[in-house]
Structure formats: structure tokens, C-alpha cells
């Protein structure tokens, strides 16, 4: 099936999310859409899938113009989509999720899932998915949930599969498996639209690469192009992908965690017996696939979790059991993983957000009142220092772009002397241009002698920043390895292999290849 988009424009009020985009997806082709977060890739695909009506332009299937009033029409035309956030009902079984909207029934509207189960088994066998039709979706690992999404599309006879940032939630191993599956699908004559901002993966699977920037197609690239070329096409200027950093000069160990256990309300140990130290002037990166205990670990340090046991020592003082405010006062700076929910108050002004951690202290507070002049002056300084792009200090923080919101949070947390700095996903959803700036600030904090903990699910970021890397898998520490370790070793550890075994195995593989 040939799919063509002609002059697609989508406006939300005054914002132009897609600006006259042309795209042709040939049968049996992997067509990558490369672009930064917010470049308009997902909007374009939602238009294609019938979730948004295009403001202008037309969609052609096999050279015939079509209009999609909803996802149902798009599916009927042979388009299937795997969304970035899975569209699966967590409490349903796989079969129920696959059948939904397309149910076979017996007399009286009663469900008949036997046919659906058979189809799931058939597809599962054909592509080696290993999916049980009667498993409840919320109990399945993320990688398997993604396969359920692919099955949903295939059961509906999709000829074109749209994969929206499919690798964001996967381990390196699962990513490799997914790329393999994409190859099989292509061999079966299906077309794939692969949306990503990860250059390595795009280069590995694409037949054609279309680069999108600020809602416009800025060009096509050959999969053979270098990552630097692709990156500068994506960002619109030359970018250096590697950070030049001085080696760390670790001082004495001032932060240590011992036998830390965090339990979820259901008793599950989401952090299971962690012990590690961080020295002054070094960055410890915590790597792992999302949902392996990183959130709970950082929240436990900050006092946000219940049911915590063990010991968290900062400068010899126990943090465990103290209130959040007390811990912040003790000198802990924290950049949470979801800035828009936990990092700032969207309806507050930029200036107010910049003093959320010190609003009740001098010089910002005077008795019961606040001194607005000093708050504004502080805001102006920070906006200039961190290059926060905002209309004014009085603008609501929620109106800023993701990257600028992140700079705002970072500016607030680094605006006072710290004894420990924790940043979760410091550059998630941040444009490539700002990433470098934020990384430099983190390094600056390290070089100032603060122990720094970075939690990131992006291997690139971990390898870029870390002096040492701790890998979490299902709440347990797989080991702490030097920051210079190879990507393969980290990948094995993220899939649950202890550090020393992973190091040994990676060396063996390399030996055999030579």
C-alpha cells in the first residue's frame, strides 16, 4: 500500500504544529521521521491516524484521496498505530484489548473471544512474540505490551504501521528485538513509519529518513549519513554531540546509602537493598530502564516515600525519617523526573517558581509578607544566567517550552549552596541545543565539589556525564561500573545481569569477533 501526505497543515489556534508537510511512504519500506521533541512528528501521525482533522492538505492511499473522520476510518484503510503511550486498557486481558472495537459476538451480543485468541496465537507464532492471549496487560513487561499493540494493528490487517517513539521505554535488548521485528514486518510487505529522535536507531533500520523541524520538512537524508550530519539537520545548526569534560577529582565520601529498602503499598520491594556512596565532586549516574526503582530511590532520599528502611547518610547525618522540608534545608537539591507535575507550579509565575524552595526565608520573606522587588530581581538574574526564554518573569511557568521549564527548575535547585544534587531525567524532552547547556551546569556543580546523582534512562546521557554508573534492575543494584564502560555492558546489566558477569561476557564477545 502506498501512502502519501500532501501539504498537510495543522494549526492549534495560532500555533502551527505542521506546516505543509509532504511525505510518501512506499510499500515495504521503513520510513523514518526524525525530529526533536515538539517538532510536530506526533501531531502529523495523529492527523494521519484520524485523531486530528488537518487544517489543510490531503491524505492519499494508493493515489486516491481519503478523509479519516476517526481512527476507525484509518484502520479500515489499513493504517495501524503503536502510540508512544500505549493505548491498552491495563485491567483487560490481551485478548480483550485486541478484540475491543472489533469484537466477534455470539447470539445476544455475547462476546466470543475464541477467534481473537486464535489470531493472537497465530501472529505470536509467526513473529515469535510469545504473547499469552489470556494474560492481564498490566502484569506484562513493557516490551510485551508493545507487541500487544503491534498485534492489535496486525489483527486489523494493517498495511502501514506507525511506530511513535517505540524505543523510549525499552531496554537496549528489547530495542534490538523490536528492530528485528520491524525487519520481519518489512519482509512481509508492510510499510513502517518509524518516529524517533534517536539517531542510532534511525540509521539502523531506515530506508528513507525525513527530517522534521518546527513543523516543517527540512530535508531527507540517506541512512548512510553520519550522526553529526543528521543531528545538525534536526537541530538546524552544527551541534557537538560529545561533551568535553575534565576528569573528576573525587573528594571525601559525604553521601552514603546503606541497605535501602522501599516497599510499595502492596508490599512489593521496589527498591531492594541498595548500598552505594557518592564522593564530593563526582557524578554517579543511575542507569536502568524506566520503572526499575529509580523514581522510588530518589523520592526516598528526599523523604517522599513511605515504607522505607535502611540508612541514608548525608555528612554523617541520617536523612531517613526526616520531613521533606528538613531534608531540603539540609542541602539537598532535587530535579524531579516530571517537571510539569512535580518540578514547578504551572499557573505560578516564573519568578514565583524560582523561589519555591526558599520562599519563606530571607531575603524573599519578611515576616509574614514577601518582598516582591527582591523576588523579581532574583528572577531577572536567573533568567539571564540560564538563558530561560520567557516573555517576562511574570509569565506563567506552564506557558514555557519543555526545555525552558527544565532550565527554570535547574536554576532554582542550583541557586543555593548544596550538599547533594539529584537530577532525575535532567534533559528529557529538552531540545538538543539546551541539553549541552544543562549538562555543563551539572558538571559545574560537580567541579564545585558537590556530590551529584543523575538518574537517566538515556544511555547517551549516562555515558556522557557519569564518573561512575550504577545500574538498577527490578529495584536491585546490578553493580557499579566506571563511566568509561561500553554500551554493551550497560545493556546487559539493564537486562538484569550482574556487573562482573556483564563485563566478562562483553569481553568474550569482542574476543570472538576478532
Amino acid at each position: 500500500m502506498k501512502l502519501e501526505l500532501k501539504g498537510i497543515t495543522k494549526r492549534f489556534g495560532t500555533l502551527v504544529a505542521n506546516d505543509h508537510i509532504d511525505l510518501v511512504v512506499e510499500p515495504g519500506q521503513v520510513h523514518s521521521l526524525l525530529g526533536e521533541n515538539g517538532a510536530g512528528k506526533s501531531t502529523l501521525m495523529n492527523v494521519l491516524y484520524g485523531l486530528y482533522d488537518p487544517t489543510e492538505g490531503e491524505i492519499l492511499v494508493n493515489d486516491k484521496s481519503v478523509t479519516f473522520r476517526g481512527p476507525g476510518d484509518a484502520m479500515a484503510a489499513g493504517i495501524g498505530m503503536v502510540h508512544q503511550h500505549f493505548m491498552l486498557v491495563p485491567v483487560f486481558t490481551v485478548a480483550e484489548n485486541v478484540a475491543l472495537g472489533n469484537e466477534a459476538t455470539k447470539a445476544g451480543g455475547m462476546l466470543d473471544l475464541s477467534d481473537t485468541r486464535a489470531k493472537i496465537r497465530a501472529i505470536s507464532d509467526q513473529y515469535g512474540f510469545d504473547v499469552d492471549p489470556d494474560a492481564v496487560v498490566e502484569n506484562l513487561p513493557v516490551g510485551v505490551q508493545q507487541r500487544v499493540e503491534i498485534i492489535k494493528a496486525l489483527v486489523r490487517n494493517a498495511e502501514v504501521l506507525i511506530l511513535d517513539e517505540p524505543t523510549a521505554v525499552l531496554t537496549p535488548k528489547e530495542t534490538d528485538e523490536l528492530l528485528g521485528i520491524m525487519g520481519q514486518l518489512k519482509a512481509d510487505g508492510k510499510s513502517i513509519v518509524f518516529i524517533s529522535h534517536k539517531l542510532r536507531e534511525v540509521k539502523a533500520v531506515s530506508d528513507v529518513i525525513t527530517v522534521v523541524r518546527r513543523g516543517k520538512v527540512v530535508g531527507t537524508a540517506d541512512p548512510g549519513a553520519s550522526t553529526t550530519e543528521l543531528a545538525s539537520l534536526m537541530v538546524g545548526r552544527a551541534v557537538s554531540l560529545t561533551l568535553q569534560k575534565e576528569p573528576a577529582h573525587p573528594g571525601e565520601v559525604s553521601f552514603s546509602v546503606r541497605d535501602l529498602v522501599v516497599q510499595a503499598a502492596n508490599g512489593q520491594r521496589v527498591v531492594d537493598g541498595l548500598s552505594f556512596d557518592v564522593a564530593q565532586g563526582e557524578i554517579l549516574a543511575i542507569a536502568g530502564v524506566q520503572g526499575n526503582g529509580q523514581t522510588e530511590l530518589t523520592e526516598a532520599i528526599l523523604g517522599l516515600q513511605n515504607h522505607v528502611r535502611g540508612s541514608i547518610l548525608l555528612d554523617g547525618q541520617e536523612l531517613l525519617g526526616r520531613g521533606v522540608k528538613d531534608i531540603i534545608r539540609a542541602g539537598v537539591g532535587f530535579v524531579p523526573e516530571d517537571r510539569s507535575v512535580e518540578g514547578l507550579v504551572g499557573s505560578f509565575s516564573v519568578a514565583e517558581n524560582l523561589i519555591l524552595n526558599r520562599y519563606d526565608q530571607a531575603p524573599f520573606a519578611r515576616g509574614l509578607s514577601m518582598s516582591s522587588a527582591i523576588i523579581e530581581k532574583n528572577a531577572d538574574e536567573k533568567i539571564a544566567e540560564y538563558d530561560v526564554r520567557t516573555q517576562s518573569a511574570a509569565a506563567a511557568a506552564g506557558t514555557l517550552s519543555g526545555g525552558n521549564q527544565q532550565k527554570l527548575v535547574m536554576a532554582r535547585e542550583l541557586s543555593r549552596p548544596l550538599k547533594l544534587f539529584i537530577a532525575s531525567q535532567p534533559t528529557r524532552g529538552v531540545d538538543v541545543g539546551s541539553i549541552e547547556f544543562l549538562h555543563r551546569r551539572i558538571l559545574q556543580e560537580r567541579d564545585g565539589g558537590t556530590p551529584v546523582i543523575i538518574v537517566s534512562t538515556e544511555l547517551d546521557e549516562v555515558l556522557e556525564l557519569a564518573d561512575r554508573i550504577a545500574v538498577l534492575y527490578r529495584g536491585r543494584l546490578m553493580g557499579i561500573v566506571p563511566g568509561t564502560v561500553s554500551r554493551d555492558v550497560l545493556g546487559l546489566m539493564m537486562a538484569g545481569m550482574p556487573g562482573d558477569e556483564a563485563l566478562a561476557q562483553a569481553t568474550n564477545v569482542r574476543g570472538e569477533m576478532q
Partner: protein, 429 residues
């Protein structure tokens, strides 16, 4: 805290020693000690008589005569033992098993009944009548909570159950009086319920008004409207407007003679039979039909349903209207079965109790059915006890259903999981 859509990996080998929850052991211990003090030490010295069948029944069961102190001690000691067991389990980090909580509740109930009836001036109660009366009082509650199930499972919070019941009761009374036919009253009640639902649906689904607020406003509106019409029209000429014929009781020959269960299951009006039918139909349809799958999907993850071509808001709209039919029919029970004629605010907060039954029953039709039965039992018990003349002041007895409600919803229900998208309007994009 994480807002991401991905779930944490599930650990099959979750170690024992989970998070210790002391709520249950403390609650059970306090109740067991209370039982020891009141049911055992404070037991009346006389015997208690429970009549199991009407003397006129074809199959008469003998009377059950129990010694109040003996039963008091047995139940109190039994509860203490269970409470101690739960404390010990909690110390080991194991949760209390469900059967144990159920056994505890049964013991408490037996102990309480024996004590309270034994302390009455006439320590003699017709158990069959107590149970049959409970079911009767539970009928509107069950219809109300089924209405809630239909709405909330599709993602709309229905606070307006009270209004649906009241408007159904009003419409049934007026229509039946005017037409002279109780069946016409029944149909009018369904239409009235749908009218309330229609307003709820239009405002909450079409105009995205906060669902709780719309519901509360609807209750106040219906109360005011029916109250006004009652004093302006119905009381002026109650002969024409407010003397509905009653629905006849249809006994099924033979089956209705079964002791205790017979009158409950086989000696009902058409509304009573419709209640059993509605529970069964909603249950089967919700979990085994295409409609049910889509309903649950739009209540859990509307966007997922939308991406598969299910029209979320249409689904919600029809479900809310359907809920109106169910609650309206439940409302007719007040004026066509329970009493003859409409009275101002005669539903008296039953719609809110139905909401509690819905939560206590974990958004499941069968669960809601049993929860509503419990509340009906509490109400009927307080009625019967005030007739028997207990030492407990009347005011406290009338609190009983509400105390049971609070305990049920706050304490015993445990972790219940509402449909994930309940109360959240669905906007495309």
C-alpha cells in the same frame, strides 16, 4: 508518583513481609473487646427466641431458642480468637485472609442480634420477617447502585441517583393516579429517571461541567421541583393526583412456601422480580457482552477505546440514559410498593446510601447487590428493634444504617479500585 504510562516490572517473587497494615487488626481487636464487654459480660440472663417461619406456613420450622449469655460468650471469645490470629499474622507481615473477615462479621452479627433482642422487653423476633423486610428495603438501594454501576463503569460519576429515585417515585405516583394503572406508573418512573439522566449526560459529557456538581445540583433541583408540585398540586387534590394503585404481590405457588427464602425470592411485586433480573442482566452484560467490554474500556482508558473506533461519548451517553431507566424504576418502588402515595423528599438520602453500596460493592453489580442488602438489613433491624423496645435509645438505632455505611466504606472495603477514568470527561486529542 510517576505519571508515565508504563508499569513497573512486576515481581513474581515478591518476598513475604509486605507493608504492615495495622488497620484491620486494630479494628478487629477493638470490636472483639467491645463484644466481650457488651455481648458477653453485659448479656441479659434470659433466653432469646428467633422464629424461623410463620406458624401458618405449609412448612413450619421450629423456633430457635438460644441462651443469651451462652451465645454472647461464644461469639465474643470467637471474635477475640480471630482478632488475635489477625494480629499474629500482621506481625509476620501477612494480610488477614478474606474468609476470616467474613467469619468475624458473621460472629459479630450473631452476637449483636442475640444481645440486642435479648435485652428487649419482648426477647422474641421473627427472623424470617427481619430478613424479608431487609430485602424489601434494599430494593430501591439495589436499583440505585446498579444505576451507579452503569454510569461509573463507563466513566461518569453519578451523584444524581437520589434525584433519579425521587423523580421516579414522584412520576410513578402521579402517572399511576391519573391513569389508574400501576404499570403506567412504572413506565412513567423509568421516563422520569431518564429525564434526570439526560440533564446529567448533556452537562457532564457535552459541556464538560464537573460531574459531582451537576449531580448535586440535580438532586437539589428534583427535591425542590417535586416538593413544590407536591404542595401546590398533589396535596390540593390528592384523590386525583396522589392515590396511586399499588403493584400486586405475585406469589409463585409452591416456591414461595419455602421457609425464609421463599418470601424473599418468590413473593415479590413486579419491581422486586425486575430487581433480581436487573442484577443478573447487568452482571452478565458487563463482563460477557460486547457492550460490557466497550463500557468498561471507556471507563478505564477512553483514549484506547477511541483509537479503536469506539465512540466514547456516545457510549457514555447511552449508559447514563440506561442508568436513568434503572434508577427510575427503583424510585417507583417507594410509591407503588412501599407506601401508597408520594411524600416530600420521601427517598430520604437513599440515593447516597446506594452510592455507598456501589463503592462497598467495588463497582460490581453482585457486590453492590450484597452491600445494598446489608444496608437494608441495618435499616430494617433498627425498625424492628424500636418495636421490640430495646434499651438502646431510638435515635441511636436510627443511626445504625449510617454507621454501617461509614464502617463499610471507610474500614472494611479495603483497597477498592474505581474505574480509572470515572469522573474525567473525555476530550478528543
Amino acid at each position: 508518583m510517576s505519571t508515565s504510562a508504563t508499569a513497573a516490572p512486576v515481581r513474581a517473587d515478591a518476598p513475604s513481609g509486605g507493608v504492615r497494615n495495622w488497620k484491620n487488626p486494630i479494628l478487629l481487636s477493638v470490636l472483639a473487646l467491645l463484644a466481650l464487654l457488651v455481648f458477653a459480660l453485659g448479656a441479659p440472663a434470659n433466653d432469646v427466641t428467633f422464629r424461623l417461619s410463620d406458624p401458618g406456613d405449609a412448612l413450619a420450622l421450629p423456633e430457635l431458642v438460644l441462651s443469651a449469655p451462652l451465645i454472647g460468650w461464644i461469639t465474643a471469645l470467637g471474635m477475640l480468637a480471630l482478632a488475635a490470629f489477625v494480629v499474629a499474622r500482621t506481625r509476620r507481615g501477612e494480610p488477614a485472609p478474606r474468609w476470616l473477615l467474613a467469619a468475624f462479621a458473621v460472629l459479630f452479627l450473631i452476637g449483636f442480634l442475640t444481645w440486642v433482642v435479648g435485652s428487649a422487653r419482648t426477647p422474641n423476633v421473627a427472623l424470617y420477617g427481619l430478613l424479608a423486610g431487609s430485602v424489601t428495603l434494599a430494593v430501591p438501594l439495589i436499583f440505585g447502585s446498579l444505576s451507579g454501576v452503569l454510569c461509573e463503569r463507563s466513566g461518569v460519576v453519578n451523584i444524581a441517583i437520589e434525584g433519579q429515585l425521587l423523580f421516579g417515585a414522584f412520576a410513578a405516583a402521579v402517572a399511576a393516579s391519573l391513569s389508574g394503572s400501576a404499570i403506567v406508573g412504572l413506565l412513567a418512573a423509568a421516563v422520569a429517571g431518564v429525564m434526570v439522566s439526560l440533564v446529567l449526560a448533556v452537562f457532564s459529557i457535552r459541556y464538560l461541567v464537573n460531574q459531582v456538581i451537576v449531580g448535586v445540583v440535580l438532586n437539589v433541583l428534583v427535591s425542590g421541583l417535586t416538593g413544590f408540585l407536591f404542595s401546590a398540586v398533589l396535596s390540593e387534590d390528592s384523590e386525583t393526583w396522589n392515590s396511586p394503585p399499588q403493584l400486586p404481590v405475585l406469589s409463585i405457588p409452591g416456591l414461595s412456601e419455602i421457609p425464609i427464602l421463599g418470601p424473599i425470592l418468590f413473593e415479590q411485586t413486579i419491581v422486586g422480580y425486575l430487581m433480581y433480573l436487573a442484577v443478573a442482566v447487568v452482571y452478565v452484560a458487563l463482563y460477557h457482552s460486547r457492550w460490557g467490554l466497550r463500557t468498561r474500556a471507556v471507563g478505564e482508558h477512553p483514549k484506547a477505546a477511541d483509537t479503536l473506533g469506539v465512540n466514547v461519548n456516545r457510549m457514555r451517553f447511552t449508559n447514563v440514559l440506561l442508568a436513568g431507566v434503572v434508577a427510575g424504576v427503583g424510585g417507583s418502588f417507594f410509591t407503588l410498593v412501599l407506601v401508597s402515595g408520594f411524600g416530600r423528599d420521601m427517598t430520604a438520602g437513599q440515593g447516597y446510601i446506594a452510592l455507598a453500596a456501589l463503592i462497598f460493592g467495588r463497582w460490581n453489580p453482585i457486590g453492590a447487590f450484597f452491600a445494598a442488602l446489608l444496608f437494608g438489613f441495618a435499616t430494617n433491624l433498627s425498625n424492628v428493634l424500636s418495636l421490640l423496645g430495646t434499651p438502646v435509645p431510638d435515635q441511636f438505632l436510627r443511626m445504625l444504617p449510617y454507621v454501617v455505611t461509614i464502617f463499610a466504606v471507610a474500614g472494611l472495603v479495603g483497597r477498592s479500585r474505581a474505574p480509572a477514568a470515572s469522573g474525567i470527561p473525555y476530550v478528543k486529542g
